[in-house]
């Protein structure tokens, strides 16, 4: 019989303790951001889809069309094409396509790029109903960048 009442008392106490915690939290400032009206700054290392880095001096990229990124990618996301052009040493990049639908953001392409020509972008607001919208032409993207 005594156990019966201690049970009830113990139970009531645990409920009071629990409710007092909830009450204290109730008056704290909310931590939720009201997206899309507010949003967080992406961290510098955030992994968005890859992009060619624009060299501030030359205004273009550093890619030497070696094809290491293409070869190291686990999911065959990258297709590049380099061409010999008159008067230019080495190959010139004429096509850099990324199929972002298959990319796992592993960073193998970046880790294997000797000249350091590619990086992760900070793009995260991506939504579409068509797959093709995620097939990026990175050269075109580089040109459009300011």
């Amino acid at each position: 019989m005594a156990g019966y009442f201690t049970n009830i008392l113990g139970g009531a106490k645990s409920l009071v303790v629990g409710l007092s915690i909830t009450q204290r939290q109730f008056f704290k400032k909310p931590i939720t951001l009201q997206y899309p009206w507010e949003s967080l700054e992406m961290t510098p290392r955030y992994r968005g889809h890859i992009q060619l880095i624009k060299n501030a001096e030359s205004g273009t990229h550093q890619c030497i069309s070696c094809g290491m990124c293409e070869k190291s990618c686990p999911s065959d996301c990258i297709t590049i094409k380099g061409e010999k052009q008159e008067g230019v040493k080495g190959k010139v990049l004429v096509k850099y396509e990324l199929d972002f639908t298959k990319c796992s953001l592993c960073g193998q392409c970046i880790a294997n790029c000797k000249p350091g020509a590619i990086e992760f972008s900070r793009e995260y607001n991506l939504a579409s109903t068509r797959k093709e919208d995620f097939h990026y032409d990175l050269l075109k993207r580089l040109k459009e960048q300011k």
């Binding site: 139970g11 645990s14 303790v17 909830t22 290392r45 796992s104 953001l105 193998q108």
Partner: protein, 372 residues
Amino acid sequence: MSSQPLSQNQERFELNLGPQHPATHGVLRVKLLMDGEYIVDAEPVLGYIHRMHELMGENRSWAQYLPNMGRLDYLSALSYNLGYVELVEKMAGIEVPERAEYIRVITTEMNRISSHLLWFGAFVLDLGGFTPLLYAFDDREQILDLLEAVTGSRLTYCYYLFGGCYNDVEDDFLSGCLAFVKRLRTRLPMYHNLVTKNVILRQRLEGVGPVSAEMCRKYGATGPVLRGSGINYDLRKNEPYSIYPELDFDVPVYPEGDSMARFMVRMDEMEQCLRIIEQAIAKIPEGPVMAEKVPKMIKPAAGDYYHAVEAARGTFAIRAVSDGANQAYRMKLRSPTFSNLSLFQEASRGMLLADGLAFMGSLDLVIPEIDR
């Protein structure tokens, strides 16, 4: 649901739990044979999220298999990253700089806490308590922010490379971790007041789903399930790897074997993770985070290799057979919750359905890792 009367006053029926059920946390289907509210038999059915991860390991280079490790147990992906890179480093004889080892341990332990916090919230949610989930996610969010600043991702990390880490960490990250350690130390007592001491929770967990040490041995259960059955077995102590031998921490063990014991093991483990993180941050040396000579093309000598680490849910082991090529000849992944789930069938016999769900929650299942 089909019903087949067995006798006049007894009716058994089959009940499908899942593959789309909130309590199974993923696409797990459990075929239940019920006698009223009681479970007569429970047969887990897998295969709904099979992605052939083992086969993938056999048709791509060692380095290309790295991102797969983030997609097995997506809640503690870094332990899996760690297990795999350590295996390949062992195979190819790559030395890892000390700073990288410390970074690996700090980030893995942070990930372990975030995994336990998510389990804590979701488990109490399964039992009908909604509020603790929000508190747990508040804390977990802090970890995700910290890890995002270092690894670039929030969930499916692919941060370690053979021979080190993808990038160095800043002092900001280390001080952020220390601030988090301090914060969680004040939050854990609150969790105990709010949840552990709650009479409803205790009544639903104490004595429910007893798993004996013998049963754990039989099914190969590891992790908090095993330690909740009174066996002190943690690979970080028993088969030490990385820098764990240099750190001072305890392995929480509870002998009762019920759902409450497994609950307490995980709660106490979070405290121990905090201790590990604190010590590692105090000791972390300066230096490079990548080994100098890592071959671009890794071709380990032919042979049979094995490495196991303690993930948040138990022993994660990889066995890889190499024939000297740039990719594995055979890749076998041993995931902890596959074994932990296996004992569900035997242990849940005669249980009330509601208790069965509480029991399942206490096993902390992650389906993509059971069903690779």
